[in-house]
């Protein structure tokens, strides 16, 4: 993919350029915000990696201008500014993701791929795995060690929610809101969630869904 990187720091710019090249991406590196608009108009990029503190202006202003001009290119902000306000402002102005410096390179690459995928709306990568469980979101099918497992609609929604956010504990409230039908679970009938989880565990086997007592449930990616 073709990446436009706007970063004024020489050391970081050079190093990131090497990373992108090693990964087989083509990258254009700009050090000024002023040059960016023209390049984006003239060339077809897949994503923008944007630093906020630039010598001729703030990256946020550039982002605002781009979005106002109708540029829908996915933008990943990389910045040392780590306060909640800064991050929220970035998202408000239309950033697709926000990474705080310093960051791990694999994380940068994964997030970059994710925002490009989202922008293209591709359905190809809607397979989720955790251990020997594979969930195909498009076909609504689940297999365990290659064997198909039949799940109810609610059970599938629960498992999908948990697997999409694997390695993260989801609280009961979050699970009820995202996965349970409106008639179910809402209004504090918490046992309903436990019943669904109990049934789900029976079908896909133990050791996939972990309970964190008093908090919620999680699926471990490499269980």
């Amino acid at each position: 993919m073709k990446i436009l990187m706007i970063e004024d720091d020489l050391a970081i710019g050079q190093a990131l350029l090497s990373v992108f090249q090693d990964e087989g991406h083509s990258a254009v590196w700009l050090r000024m915000a002023a040059d960016a608009q023209a390049r984006i108009r003239d060339e077809a990029f897949d994503a923008v990696v944007l630093d906020l503190g630039l010598p001729d202006g703030d990256g946020n202003d550039l982002l605002r201008t781009l979005r106002a001009d109708g540029v829908r290119l996915p933008v990943l902000i990389i910045s040392a500014r780590d306060s909640l306000q800064d991050r929220l402002k970035g998202f408000d102005l239309g950033a697709d993701d926000y990474l705080i410096k310093p960051f791990e390179i694999p994380e940068l690459l994964v997030r970059l791929r994710a925002i490009v995928r989202r922008a293209h709306g591709t359905l190809e990568e809607n397979l989720w795995t955790a251990g020997d469980i594979v969930l195909d979101e498009n076909r609504m099918a689940v297999t365990r060690a290659g064997q198909p497992v039949t799940l109810s609609k609610t059970e599938f929604a629960l498992l999908l929610t948990l697997m999409k956010q694997a390695n993260r504990v989801l609280t009961r409230v979050e699970l009820e809101r995202r996965a349970l039908p409106a008639a179910d679970g809402q209004g504090g009938q918490s046992q309903t969630l436990d019943v669904h989880i109990f049934n789900l565990r029976k079908k896909i086997g133990e050791g996939v869904i972990r309970t964190v007592r008093g908090v919620g449930y999680m699926v471990q990616q490499d269980a």
């Binding site: 720091d9 050391a11 970081i12 190093a15 990131l16 090497s18 990373v19 090693d22 040392a80 500014r81 780590d82 306060s83 909640l84 410096k101 310093p102 960051f103 791990e104 390179i105 390695n167 993260r168 504990v169 989801l170 609280t171 409230v173 979050e174 972990r210 964190v212 007592r213 008093g214 908090v215 919620g216 999680m218 471990q220």
Partner: protein, 460 residues
Amino acid sequence: MLRRLANRPSSLFQRLMFSFTGVIIGVAIIGLVWVFLEAKATQRSRTFSENKAHTANILAHLSDVGPNVQRMLPVLEEIEANRVRMFQELDYHSHVRVRVWLHGRLIYNSAPRLPDRLPEVATRAAYAWVRWEAHDALQGIVVERRHEVDDEWMFSIGGVGFLLSSTIFSLPLLLIPAWLIVGIGLRPLRTIASHIAQRSDADLTPLPDSTYRELSPLVDAINGLMARLSQRIEHEHEFLTDAAHELKTPLAAIQINAHVLLSRAGNEVAERCAEPAAGLRSGVARATHTVHQLLALERARAEPQVDHPRPLTDVAEFVRDRVAAAAHLAVARNIEIEFHADGDGSLPLHLESMASAVDNLISNAIKYSPQDGRIAVRLTRIGHIFCLAIADQGPGINPELRDKVFDRFYRVPGQEQSGSGLGLAIAERGAARNGGIIVLSDGEGGRGLTATIEFAGAAA
């Protein structure tokens, strides 16, 4: 309190009271001197006039009876007897001598025991005498009257006592109201002092304006100092934040370059360089962690001037979210983490600082827990105070070190876990910003450590 009194150099109250007493005494002394001088002058002239009148009176009586000694003497004796009676009634103690001459011969002396010559001016041994003579040249009668001027009694203890008695008796009547008035007058000063004394060291907001014109300069000066102080602290804060931010960019560069270096090295080199590569990675990670913790510490600091409105937050839900966010770290090390919400309710919380307080305590618990250990997070509520206890089964902290671990960059000696040494300092600040304190105690069953945040929401 006692020590403070002993250290106090001098008392404004005493100073005012002493001055006031001094003025009273001064006025009394001036009055006394005035009375002395005046009495001395008037008594003499009064006695003089009295002598003149009496001698004229006696002469008139004697002229009436004619120059006959036998007839003059009873008149003189009666006059003297009248005088003695009058002096007794009036309680006068001064002495008088009357002498009468007829044709140059002394025929009467009312006080024959006194010496002929009596002093005109007072000496130490005797009072002064004022003298007057009246003559009847036709009948050859001379009347002399001498009157002792008793002006020295004023200088005696009795005299001074009499003159000062009014002042001495009125002194308590003046000083007790003065004591009360000075006390009332100084009360606003004490109020301001206690305002300042009750403040926390983080509170640099200006004092309320004094309603007294005399105290305004003091209040203004203190407020000016507070403003300069908070500005200075603000500068220091900005400096630290900027310094931490500045470190991030070079750290990012090191991290990215390390990645490029290792990914380009090829398998054989990568294998040989596995150890230094891991060291490099963990070094960068540790520096990054410290930078983030420094920023978190600065962010948890209370900023009274720019405190944002605090949303009313469901405390149990808030803690559950924090546990959820950290739980994957526990699960990865097979540590059982559980949350018990035994109390619920809502509080106005400063979310970012409260979250960093809770997160740091949970992350400490996970970091120091043994593999397969258990962490219990328990929320209870006593009245309006919430207690969030996080108990682990780790090595715990020696009771003597439990105060010290809150110091910045202090780390319990002899441990293998890496850390910035800032976690508990951040947690303490975050808790303080939400009106809370952190108490460290033994873990459940005497094993490990329990860190408890007791908080009641931020003071409005």
